[in-house]
Structures are given as C-alpha cells and as structure tokens.
Symmetry: C2
Subunit: 103 residues, 2 copies
C-alpha cells in the first residue's frame, strides 16, 4: 500500500486552503471578511488562495453588494466537499501511522 | 478559540515533509533511498525538503559509507517528534470540525 501522504492533494492540503474549505463546508456560504479574520490572513493572501481553489473547481466566489458595500461570499462546491473528504480520510490514515508508532 | 489551521506549522504540514517526519519517527534511522521510494520523490526534491527540516532542527542527516557506497541516513530529533505531535494534535481538532459539520 502506498504511504498516505502520497494521496494528499497539495491544492487541498496547503494550510490556508485547508482552512478555507473546512470553514466553507460548515455553512451555505461564508463572507470574505469572516474567512480573513478567522484564518488571520491578509486580503491578498486570502484572494490568492481562493483563486487557486476556484480554478480547481472547489469553491465558487460570488461578488455582490450589501447596500452600497461590496461583499464577496464563498461557497464550497460538491467537488470541494469531496476533495475535503478525501483529504480527511488520508489524514486519518496518517494519524493512525503516527499514533501506532508513537505508542 | 483560534481555528486549528492557525496552529499548523508550514515546515511540518507541507505534504512531503509530513511524510518524512512520519516515516522517520517509526524507526531509529531511515535510509535516503527508502524515503525516496516510499514518498515517490526525486532525489532533488527529497534533498530540498530534508534541508528545510534539518535547518529547523527537526531531523539530523548522517552521511557515511556502506562498504564503498555512500549512504545517507535520516534521524528525527526530539524537536522533530514534538513538532510532529503538535501537528497531529491540530489535525485531530480539524478533523473533529469537519466530521462534526459533515454529519
């Protein structure tokens, strides 16, 4: 059997993107500002990583207005949920390795 | 409470380095070639990531000979074990979030 880290997808595994997907799957949609403060990111860093996830089809980004203020909302896609589920399954295998060896 | 991904350390979390540490903690020392084949890496990529871990004090690299053949062996340090343990603890929190939301 191949080592569990070989199954990890860098698009999903990268720390910031893993955080975005984890938060996005907990709600129908999440606000850009909420992601930024929860994950302690600059707007530029968050935008970059949202772009990577959007290009991979894992999130949808909706730009709109709330009154006069621009508002960006993020939704996880079905593919995003599936990719996150796969990541979590590989992480569980990895943890079993470590916990097994650590005794 | 801060989001669990904010606790993840990129030096340890990055896919290849997480694999190296996971394998290294299962034995007193591991062979470069074994890491390379298990993690499906080029020698250059493995060397680069071992260098990052060595610079952070998480592994020790011992170069020697077995007969006439050069042999590189990798050992996890006490700091490496601790860093891996912290990573696993944050991953468990993250998984609890996802499994909780996923129902």
């Amino acid at each position: 059997m191949t080592h569990p880290v070989n199954g990890l997808n860098e698009v999903v595994h990268q720390r910031t993107r893993l955080g975005i997907l984890t938060i996005a799957q907990e709600a129908r949609s999440v606000d850009f500002g909420f992601l930024q403060s929860t994950l302690e990111l600059t707007a530029g860093n968050l935008s970059h990583n949202l772009g990577v996830l959007e290009d991979a089809g894992l999130v949808r980004i909706r730009k709109g207005y709330e009154g006069k203020r621009p508002r960006t909302r993020v939704e996880i896609t079905a593919a995003g949920r599936q990719a996150l589920r796969a990541e979590i399954a590989y992480l569980k295998q990895l943890i079993a390795h470590v916990d097994g060896a650590d005794g």
